[in-house]
């Protein structure tokens, strides 16, 4: 199969120890010690203060990185199609829903219920930005990050439009955590475009291959920064983008199906930034 191409224009990353790309990029490159976690919730400045306080963790997490990636790409979020992906969605709300139902279903909060849909972050994103472009929200268990990236890249290639790709997972709590374990919070957003531009940071060639899948891992010090998070497989790509050097990556799509990604600096003004 011929390789397809896309250009990374914007990156957003957030975890309690990697709060934003400026810190995350420098830390992943190995240039500085990772700071101690400062907070468990990103600022999500996109949301008005009252909504920010009420918004579920998964929503502020996804919106924080989505807004950062669009800002870096200098793209208007209103015009961007988007792919939102998460292994477990919003586990805090799942825990609330199931615990409340076990007690008395009549006590379910209507707001928590409508926030329980897997597409809540995508919905809030379009409401906050006024984006009428389509989004999708998906999941693929252990293959969620690879599948999210492939879905966004496929849309870039098939429709020749820029696409925002957002992958996130939060900490699972309560009984569900025994079956759906995820530690801490981690989210990565990318703005991917079909053509090079002044904001291109990396050129990405990709194809899908069958056979044994050996997923690329980040360097051990970096892997430790997101250990146990369900979307941690996004960190190898984030590290490659931070390094700014050519890199081959493998992401799993199914037990015997891989997304092969080849990254090169785009050579633009910020190519190595």
């Amino acid at each position: 199969m011929a390789a397809h191409r896309a250009y990374v224009e914007g990156i957003g990353l957030w975890s309690p120890r990697l709060a934003g790309w400026e810190i995350a990029g420098a830390t992943l490159r190995g240039g500085r010690e990772p700071p101690a976690p400062v907070t468990t919730r990103p600022a999500a400045a996109l949301l008005p203060p009252t909504e920010r306080r009420r918004a579920p963790d998964a929503v502020v997490l996804a919106l924080e990185v989505a807004a950062s990636a669009c800002a870096m790409a200098r793209r208007d979020p209103q015009t961007l199609a988007s792919v939102f992906a998460s292994t477990y969605g919003d586990p805090a709300i799942s825990d609330y829903m199931c615990a409340t139902l076990a007690q008395d279903g009549a006590l379910i909060s209507p707001t928590k219920f409508h926030n329980s849909v897997h597409n809540a972050p995508a919905g809030y994103w379009t409401i906050a930005t006024g984006a009428t472009a389509p989004y999708t929200a998906l999941t693929a268990y252990r293959h969620t990050f690879g599948t999210a990236l492939l879905s966004a890249l496929a849309q870039v290639a098939s429709d020749a439009v820029p696409v925002l790709c957002v992958a996130y997972d939060s900490e699972t709590t309560g009984p569900i955590a025994t079956m759906a374990p995820s530690r801490g919070q981690l989210a990565l957003a990318l703005v991917l475009a079909p053509e090079p531009s002044a904001t291109s940071r990396a050129r990405l060639s990709w194809r899908v291959r069958t056979g044994e899948v050996r997923e690329g891992a980040p360097r051990p010090a970096n892997a430790a920064l997101a250990a146990g998070n369900a979307i941690a497989s996004c960190l190898a790509l984030a590290e490659a983008l931070a390094d700014g050097t050519p890199r081959e990556l493998v992401l799993s799509l199914a037990p015997r199906l891989a997304l092969e990604v080849s990254l090169e600096p785009a050579g633009g003004p910020q190519g190595q930034a």
């Binding site: 849909v117 597409n119 929200a137």
Partner: protein, 395 residues
Amino acid sequence: MRPVPLNLTAYTAVCAAGAGRAALLEALRTRTGALKPNDFTATPLPGSIGRVPELESEPLPRELAVYECRNNRLAWRGLRQDGFRERVAAARSRYGAARVAVVLGTSTSSIGATEEGYRRLDATGQYPPDLRRPIVHTPHSLGEFVQRALALEGLCVTVATACSSSAKAFAHAERLLRLELADAAVVGGTDSLCGSVLYGFNSLQLVAREPCRPFDLHRDGISLGEAAGFALLERDGAGPWLLGYGESSDAHHMSSPHPQGLGARLAVEQALASAGLGARAIDYINLHGTASRKNDEIEGTLVADLFPATTLASSTKGWTGHTLGAAGILEAVITLLALEHSLAPGTLNLSTPDPACGPRIRRDNEARPLAFALSNSFGFGGSNCVLAFGRTRPR
């Protein structure tokens, strides 16, 4: 680049109104609805539901037992209708297991199993041993189950955009086929009744007291249902065609539609444009038509605005209930049956048409040849998807 037309070489669905195409068609012809008083929740809730019978006594085969839960049982029943599994097996032999993608929509997947786990926690706060199966406590439970049940090894995605999920699965799969990342795709979805949705919609005060009455002056909300449906998409074949689709976001509110139907209009217009069809070419529209006050008024007005009097439009949720993430595939299958059998279903339980919903809404069934049709799906989070189907390819 426009979507490429794809052939539906097999399709089927199961819901309260019938299992398989013949039973569904018969229910539509005879106007036999399947909504009955809610008997699902432990404490009684008002309203009617479209419950698929006897799932409780129909376990999954032993080799698939790790996926055991109501949602996957319903999916399994769907896969066994109308020779669907055999058609997929033939595609698998033709293209190879890695070249047949699985793209399925669901809203709540197997959350019912997680709810049960919470009801049956042991003294140490652990799930009971029979529910210690991680896969059924993740939203991808549906996609992985169907991929395994069909012995496929290609791309596998669970789309979860609430009530547009299984309609958007068609659009997602079309892109994969257009890029030759797959040669065929199993699309569709499954959603099953569970406490989350029954109590959740009740908390939003969106549930009707009686079986739902789409577009009726006295409609008072939705009736929930459950369904599984599947279609096999290939580049060519003897079945009807997916000609195009439109996807959009309302950018308005999490659980209320845009008051002027902005996103819905965008999705309809894109579906027509991508299919290369004008509004006059559309013979039938299967509406989202949930029977909620706002949705029906906005959708009815939009259809009256965009389509001529020759376009028949109806909601079939009076037969099936609102099957949430499965509504897209269930109503796609109903739309395909309408095209195939020259029968535009009317709207069940509609007695007094609401003038605010415009003049296009049909109450009665109408037998007439239908060439092109749309199916509308709109969901929480403002996610809209409209599919365009044809009996044949245009031109």
